[in-house]
Symmetry: none
Subunit: 152 residues, 2 copies
DNA sequence: TTGACGCCCATAGTGCCCCATGATATCGAT
DNA sequence: ATCGATATCATGGGGCACTATGGGCGTCAA
């Protein structure tokens, strides 16, 4: 299955490296890529990561939006100047840079969370907190209006 | 019969594996799949599971929405980070991960319960409790309907 | 030199494939 | 209907392969 799904947390070793989950790696490679890109998530203390197509997808989103010029400039800067490139070593690990730690608070462990077309990297605690909040919001929303999918 | 019906409880072996009921398996395999998609239910201490098309069905709901809206973000996060694929081994078993135990309280046995288009996985005790509660609610509801209809 | 970073190997733990066993259900012949 | 042969299924265990993780060295630049 070529989708980023589920979540795993791996430890950062003494050299600041962390293994990208093998399942996620295989998806990237199956798409014919050997490079990994990471961007700061817009609303969340997390990183959006994935293959090169991640950049183009965000670019397209920029094009389609009629934002104020300044805002679009900010976005462009955000994407291209504030984004990063992650090198996979021979064992499928990346080194956690300050760029990543700043925005996410990541210190000793990283939670990799699937997001269908890409994945995210979180501090485990913040991930858990966010997960709980999302569940609560969705449950609240469903209590008001009935969800459409065929659940009981 | 291509519907998930009835309920069975199977034991988890020493290696943390449990057999998916053959009847459920045959439905999945008839659709040409060897994997299960499982999602932590919002309101119940159970897992909603089914073939990969279960996820596809959910995804289709997201397609219509603005990908950057908060609600769509929440849904995507819930579907993809809070769910995962379960691989069936050659004997039709899945390995019970911590991901599943946390949410359901499952420890040594699993109750598989059909839900028409998909099925659920429960801790046997909690399933029984939930079943009793549902029966009671239905009976209560019917009693009220009978009262309003002027019957005894 | 010192430290950051690349590449390589070692190892423990886990996932997954394959086969064995016993219980239960199905079916056929008498 | 009884009994035995056969198929199906849940369960158990052996063992290989892969993954995460740790550590050893070189290289290159400050």
């Amino acid at each position: 299955m070529n989708r980023f799904l589920g979540h795993v947390t791996n430890r950062i070793d003494a050299k600041g490296r962390v293994s990208v989950p093998a399942h996620f790696r295989s998806i990237i490679q199956a798409a014919g890529h050997t490079e990994l890109y990471a961007l700061r998530s817009l609303h969340l203390p997390a990183l959006d990561a994935g293959g090169p197509e991640l950049l183009t997808r965000f670019d397209n989103h920029l094009d389609g939006q009629d934002l104020f010029a300044e805002n679009a400039d900010d976005m462009s800067f955000y994407l291209h100047a504030d984004g990063g490139f992650l090198k996979l070593d021979g064992d499928g690990r990346i080194t956690v840079t300050d760029f990543m730690r700043e925005h996410t608070g990541i210190s000793s462990d990283v939670t990799f969370a699937g997001a269908n077309t890409h994945f995210q990297m979180w501090h485990p605690d913040r991930f858990e907190a966010h997960r709980a909040k999302v569940r609560q919001r969705l449950a609240e929303k469903r209590r008001q209006e009935n969800l459409t999918a065929g659940k009981s």
